[in-house]
Amino acid sequence: MLKTLASYIKEYKKPSIATPVFMILEVLMEMLIPFLFASLIDDGVQAENMNHILTVGGIMVVIAAIGLYAGIMGGVCGAKASTGFAKNLRKGMFDKIQTYAFSNIDKFSTAGLVTRLTTDVTNVQNSYQMLLRMCMRAPVSLILAMVMSFVVNARIASFFMIAVVLLGCVLALIISKATKYFQAAFPKYDELNASVQENVSAIRVVKAYVREDHEKKKFKAASNGIYDIFVKAEKTVSYNNPVMQITVYTCILLISWFGAKMIVGSGATELTTGELTSLLSYCMNILMNLMMVSMIFVMLSMSFASAKRIAEVLNEEPSLVNPENPCYEVKDGSIAFEQVDFGYSEGDDKRVLTDINLNIRSGETIGIIGGTGSSKSSLVNLISRLYDVTAGSVKVGGRDVREYDIETLRNEVSVVLQKNVLFSGSILENLRWGDKDATEEECIRACRLACADEFIESFPDKYNTHIEQGGNNVSGGQKQRLCIARALLKKPKILILDDSTSAVDTATDAKIRHAFANEIPDTTKLIIAQRISSVQHADRIIVMDNGKISGIGTHEELLASNEIYRDVYESQTGGSGDFDENGGEA
C-alpha cells in the first residue's frame, strides 16, 4: 500500500530528499548553539572576557544564519514535496477513475470517491509533510544527543539508555493501545456526520412523521458512543505525559545525585561541573525527542486509514480494457444478442438477464417496455459495452462489442442514461460534449430534433445560458431534452434512450419521435419507456419481464399475444398521458 502511494512522489523526489537533509543541518546547528551558549557564559561572561563574548557572539550569528537558511529551505522543500505529492495523488486517482468501467464506479459510492480525492488526500499531505520535516529531525537529534552524552560520560549516559528503553517501551504500549481506540473511533465519527447529513437532507420526512424525538434519541446515543470511545482513547494517551515527566524528573534527580557524588568523589576529574550541566540538558533533549517520535507515530497511524483508502482507488483495476488489436470502425447499426446472460457481480450467480437472443436490423426503431426491475436498462447497457456480458455475446455491426475500440464503439452507440446529468457551463458547452467540434448550427439542429430549441430560445441568453451544477436551473423535462440533443450530436449509428422522455410531455415526446423518424432514419433507435405511447409506433417492441424477453412484436401483435403488454396498455388506456410541466407549451 505504501509502495503504491510512494510511486506517486515522482518529480518531487528531490525536495522529498532535500527536506530531511536540511532538517538535519538545522538540527546540527541547533546542537551547536548550547555549546556556544555555555562557552559564552563560562569563558565570556563569567571570565569577564568581552572579546570572547564578541567572538562567540559572531560565531553564533553565523551559525544562526546557517540554521535559518537550513530551516527555511527545509520548510520550503517540505511544502513543495508535500503539496506536490498531494497533487500527484489527486491526479493519479482522478486519472485512474477516468479509466474505470461502470462496474468499478458502482463499487465506490460517489461520496466515497469525493472523500478520497479531498479529505483523505489532505490527511496524507499533512502527514507526509510532518514525516519529512520531523521524522528525521527527532531521531537524529536524539541520536546526536545520545552520542554526545556518551562522549561526556559513559557511566551516567547509561542511565539515559535505561530510561530511554523503559520510556520507549511504555510509550509504545500506550500508543498501540490508543491507536486501536482511535481507529475504532474515526469510523464512528464519520457515521455520526453521515447521520447529521441524512437528517439535514431528509428533514421533511423527519418532520412529516414527527420523528424529531426519535432522531434526537438516535443522535444522542451515537454521540455518547463517540464520547465513550474518545474518552477511552484519550485516557490511554493521558498516561503519556506523567510517564514522560516521571522519567525526565527521575533522570534529572539521579544524574544530580550521582553526578554530584562523582564530581566530589573524584575531585572533579571524572566529571566536571560544566559536563554535568550539559548532561542534564542532553537528558532533556533525548527524552523530548523520544516523546516527539511517539507523537509522530500516533499522527501517522491516524492518517493510515486515509492512505489505505487512496491506495484502494489507485489499485483498482478497470474491469473493461480495450482489446489488443481493436477495430476502429463500426459497419452499421445492427445489433445482435446471442444467448446473453448477465449478472452485476462476478462471484454471485444472481443473473439480471438470462438467455437473451435478439436481432435488430440497422435503422430499426425498437421500443422496450417492462416493469420496475425487469432489467431494461441492463439490457441496453451491454450494447455500448458499459458492462461485459457474463455469458454469450453482444454484436454491433456484426462484430462482438469486445473487439471494438471502446471509444469508437461508444461514439457510434450513443446512450442517454436514465440518471443523466448536465454539467456546469453554458448550454453550448454541454452540447459539445457530444462533439467538441460541433458548430453552433449543428448544435441548434440537434436541439431542434430533440425539441429543446423552443425553450432554449426563450432564455434571455439563449444557447449561452449558464447551466448550474447538476442542471438544477432547468426543469426535468428540459434537462432530458438537452441530454437527448447532446447524444444526437455524436451522430451515432445507434441511439439509445433509457427512459429519457419520462418528464417530457406526451405531445413533445411524439414530436421528438417524429423528428427521429424523419431526420435520422438510418440510425438504429432503442427507446425504453414507461408510457405505451412512447413505444407504440416502434417497428418492434420488446417486453421485458424479470430479466427475460417476454415478447417481441409490433403493437398489434403484442396486444393480441402478450399478456403483460396488454395489461400495461390497459392500465394506460384513454390516453397514456402525463401532465407535464410543459403541458402549457405543447
Partner: protein, 641 residues
C-alpha cells in the same frame, strides 16, 4: 457529502476570518464550557499552576545544584573533610516531592481536561442537533446543506482545538510569561526593555509572515473549493463522462485546477513552515545581543549589574521567548475557532418552529354515542379541543375534512406563489392536483402539514383552524410520501418501521405487501435485514418509492398525501399499489399530486393549477366535458398517441 475529516484536522479556512464580536463569542464559548464543567475548569487551572511552579522550581534547582552543593562539597573535600551529602540529599528529596506534585497535577490536568473537552464536544453536538431538529423547514431551504454540515465537522473541530489546546496553552504561557517577566524586571529594567523590544521584532515578523501566508491561504481555500467542486461534479457524472468518452478533456481540466491548487497551497504552507525557524533564530540572536549588552554592563559595572544576574537573565530571556512564540501561534487558531463559534451560535440562536397549538390528537372510542378518550389504539381518532373561555373539552372526530378558504401564500413575504386558493376535501375523497412545475401543487400540501404558515386566509381541518392544532399531532394525522424519496441508514425493516416505531414484524410485512415491495425486498441479499446505506443508493428509484409508500402505509394515517409518489414506478405496479392504498384509505382523505394521468384519473376531484391559482376543478369526466385546460392536456395525449 459527509466529510470524514473530523479530528484528523479541519480544512484551513482563510487565515483571517472576520468575527463581528470576538469578545462576546469568546465569553459565550467559555460560558458554554463552564456551564457543565465549572468545577473541572477550576481544577484544571489549579493543576496548571501547580505543574508550572513544579517545573520552575526544578529549573531553579538544577541552576543552583552546582553553586550551592557541588562547589561547597568540593571545597569540603579539598579541605580534607568528609563531604556531607545530607544537604544535597535533602534538597533532592524536597525537589522530588515537588516534582511528584507536578506529575500528579499534570496527570490530573490531562485527565480532567479530557472530560471537559469530550464532554463539551458531546454537549455541543447534541445541542446543535436537538436545536436543528426544531428549526422550521425554511431554515433548511435558506441554508445550503454543505454549510450546515460544515458546522458539525469543521466548526466543532476548531472549537475542540481551542478548548483542549489553545486555552490551556494560553493559561500555561500566561503564567510563565508573568513570572518570568517579573523576575526579569527585578534583575534589570533596561535589559528587560531591550528583551521586550527584541520580542517585539519577533512578533512583528510573525505577523508579517502570517499576513503573507494569509493571502495564499485565502487563495488556497478558493482553489480547494474549485477542485472539490469539480471533483464532486465529475464523480457524480462519471457515468456520463464514460458514455461520452470525455475522459481526456476531463483530465486536462482537472490538471489545470489541480496545478493551481498545488501552487497556492505550496505558497501558503511555505510561509507557515518557515515561521518556526525564523523565530528560533531571532531568539538565538536576541540571546547574543543581550549577552553582549549585558556583558558590557556587568563588566563596566553599570547599574550594579552582576555577572551572576546576567546568567540568570539570559536563562529567563530564553524562557520568555518560547511562551510568547507559542501564544502568537495559538492566536490564529483562536481566531479561527471564534469564527467557527460564531457560526455555531448562529445556528443555536436560530428561532425554532413556533407552535401555539393546543388541540391534540387522541385515540377515541364511542360510548353511548359520545366520543371519549381511549388509551388504546382504537382505529378511531379524535381532536381534543380545550376551550379556554368556557373551560370545557370537546372531542371532534378526526375525519379528514380539509378546507382551504381563500388562502394566499408566498415563501417570501413579497412574492406570493398561491393566490386565493379555496378547496374542500370531503372525508373519504381522493383529491388530485395537476399542473406544471412551479404551479404550487407541492406547496399546497406543505401548507396542510404546516411546513409553512400561510399569509392570508384559513385552513380548517375537521372544522378546526390548523393553527390551533399542535404541529406534532397535526403531522401525525397526515401520512405523506414526498417527491424526493429519502431513506435512512439502517435495514429495510427499520426504514419501513419509521412510520410506526412500535410496529411488529408482521405489520412491516403487511405494509410492504400492500406497497408491492415485499417481492423485491425478499430478493435482496438479506431480505428485510438488508442494510441500506447512503440514502438507499443501492436501490432503484422505483424501489425506493415503494419503500416510502410502505413506510406511509404502516403509519395507517387518517389523511394521506402522495406527492409524485409513484412517478418512477411502472404503470402496472402502480396500479397494484394504488389498489392497495385505496383499500387502506377507504373512508379517509387522500391528496394526490401526479403528472401521470393514470395516477389521478379515478380521483373524486381533480384541481388544475396554474401559476398558483386553481383554474379548473371537477371529476375527470366533468373536466373533459368542460373542454378547458385539462381537456387540452388530455387530448394532447391523444394526438400523441
Amino acid at each position: 457529502m459527509p466529510g470524514p475529516g473530523g479530528p484528523r484536522g479541519p480544512m484551513p479556512r482563510g487565515m483571517k476570518p472576520s468575527v463581528k464580536n470576538p469578545g462576546k463569542i469568546f465569553r459565550r464559548i467559555i460560558g458554554f464550557v463552564t456551564r457543565n464543567y465549572l468545577v473541572h475548569c477550576i481544577v484544571v487551572i489549579v493543576c496548571i499552576i501547580v505543574s508550572v511552579l513544579a517545573s520552575v522550581q526544578g529549573t531553579w534547582f538544577t541552576k543552583n545544584l552546582i553553586d550551592q552543593f557541588i562547589v561547597p562539597l568540593l571545597s569540603q573535600k579539598e579541605q580534607g573533610l568528609v563531604p556531607d551529602y545530607s544537604g544535597l540529599l535533602n534538597a533532592i528529596l524536597r525537589v522530588a516531592g515537588f516534582y511528584g506534585l507536578g506529575v500528579i497535577a499534570s496527570f490530573t490536568n490531562t485527565r480532567v481536561m479530557l472530560y471537559i473537552t469530550q464532554g463539551t464536544m458531546r454537549n455541543l453536538r447534541d445541542e446543535l442537533f436537538v436545536h436543528m431538529e426544531t428549526l422550521p423547514i425554511k431554515y433548511f431551504d435558506t441554508h445550503s446543506h454543505g454549510d450546515i454540515m460544515s458546522i458539525y465537522t469543521n466548526d466543532v473541530e476548531t472549537m475542540r482545538q481551542m478548548i483542549s489546546q489553545s486555552i490551556p496553552q494560553l493559561i500555561n504561557s500566561g503564567i510563565t510569561i508573568v513570572s518570568v517577566l517579573v523576575s526579569m524586571i527585578l534583575l534589570n529594567v533596561p535589559l528587560t526593555v531591550l528583551a521586550l523590544f527584541l520580542i517585539g521584532i519577533m512578533l512583528f515578523v510573525t505577523k508579517k509572515t502570517t499576513g503573507l501566508s494569509g493571502k495564499f491561504f485565502v487563495k488556497q481555500q478558493k482553489n480547494l473549493g474549485m477542485v472539490n467542486g469539480f471533483i464532486e461534479e465529475m464523480m457524480a457524472g462519471q457515468k456520463v463522462v464514460k458514455v461520452f468518452c470525455h475522459e481526456k478533456e476531463n483530465i486536462e481540466k482537472f490538471d489545470e485546477l489541480n496545478n493551481e491548487l498545488c501552487d497556492s497551497s505550496y505558497n501558503a504552507n511555505k510561509f507557515v513552515n518557515i515561521l518556526g525557524p525564523i523565530n528560533a533564530q531571532i531568539g538565538n540572536i536576541s540571546y547574543v545581543i543581550i549577552a553582549i549588552v549585558g556583558g558590557a554592563m556587568a563588566l563596566n559595572n553599570i547599574g550594579g549589574f552582576s555577572v551572576g544576574a546576567l546568567v540568570s537573565f539570559l536563562t529567563y530571556n530564553r524562557n520568555l521567548s518560547m511562551p510568547i512564540n507559542q501564544v502568537s501561534q495559538q492566536f490564529n487558531s483562536i481566531i479561527m475557532a471564534l469564527a467557527g463559534g460564531e457560526r455555531i451560535f448562529n445556528l443555536l440562536d436560530e428561532k425554532p418552529e413556533t407552535d401555539e397549538g393546543y388541540v391534540t390528537l387522541v385515540n377515541a372510542k364511542r360510548e353511548m354515542g359520545e366520543l371519549t378518550e381511549s388509551d388504546k389504539r382504537t382505529g378511531l381518532w379524535a381532536w381534543k379541543h380545550y376551550h379556554k373561555d368556557t373551560g370545557t373539552t370537546d372531542y371532534v372526530e378526526l375525519k379528514g375534512d380539509v378546507v382551504f378558504d381563500d388562502v394566499d401564500f408566498g415563501y417570501n413575504e413579497d412574492k406570493l406563489v398561491l393566490h386565493n386558493v379555496s378547496l374542500y376535501a370531503q372525508p373519504g375523497q381522493k383529491i388530485a392536483f395537476v399542473g406544471s412545475t412551479g404551479a404550487g401543487k407541492t406547496t399546497i400540501t406543505n401548507l396542510i402539514n404546516r411546513f409553512y404558515d400561510i399569509q392570508d386566509g384559513k385552513i380548517r381541518y375537521d372544522g378546526i383552524n390548523i393553527n390551533k392544532i399542535k404541529k406534532g399531532d397535526l403531522r401525525r394525522s397526515l401520512g405523506i410520501v414526498l417527491q424526493d424519496t429519502h431513506l435512512f441508514t439502517g435495514t429495510v425493516m427499520d426504514n419501513i418501521r419509521y412510520g410506526k416505531l412500535d410496529a411488529t414484524d408482521e405489520e412491516v410485512y403487511a405494509a410492504a405487501k400492500l406497497a408491492n415491495a415485499d417481492g423485491f425486498i425478499r430478493r435482496l441479499s438479506d431480505g428485510y435485514n438488508t442494510m441500506l446505506t447512503g440514502d438507499g443508493t443501492n436501490l432503484s428509484q422505483g424501489q425506493r418509492q415503494l419503500l416510502a409508500i410502505a413506510r406511509a402505509a404502516i403509519a395507517d394515517p387518517p389523511v394521506l398525501i402522495l406527492d409524485e409518489a409513484t412517478s418512477s414506478i411502472d404503470t402496472r405496479t402502480e396500479r397494484i399499489v394504488q389498489d392497495g392504498m385505496d383499500k387502506l384509505m377507504k373512508g379517509r382523505t387522500t391528496f394526490v399530486i401526479a403528472h401521470r394521468l393514470s395516477t389521478v384519473k379515478n380521483s373524486d376531484c381533480i384541481m388544475v393549477l396554474e401559476q398558483g391559482r386553481i383554474i379548473e376543478r371537477g371529476t375527470h369526466d366533468e373536466l373533459l366535458a368542460a373542454r378547458g385546460k385539462y381537456y387540452q392536456l388530455y387530448t394532447g395525449n391523444n394526438i400523441a398517441g
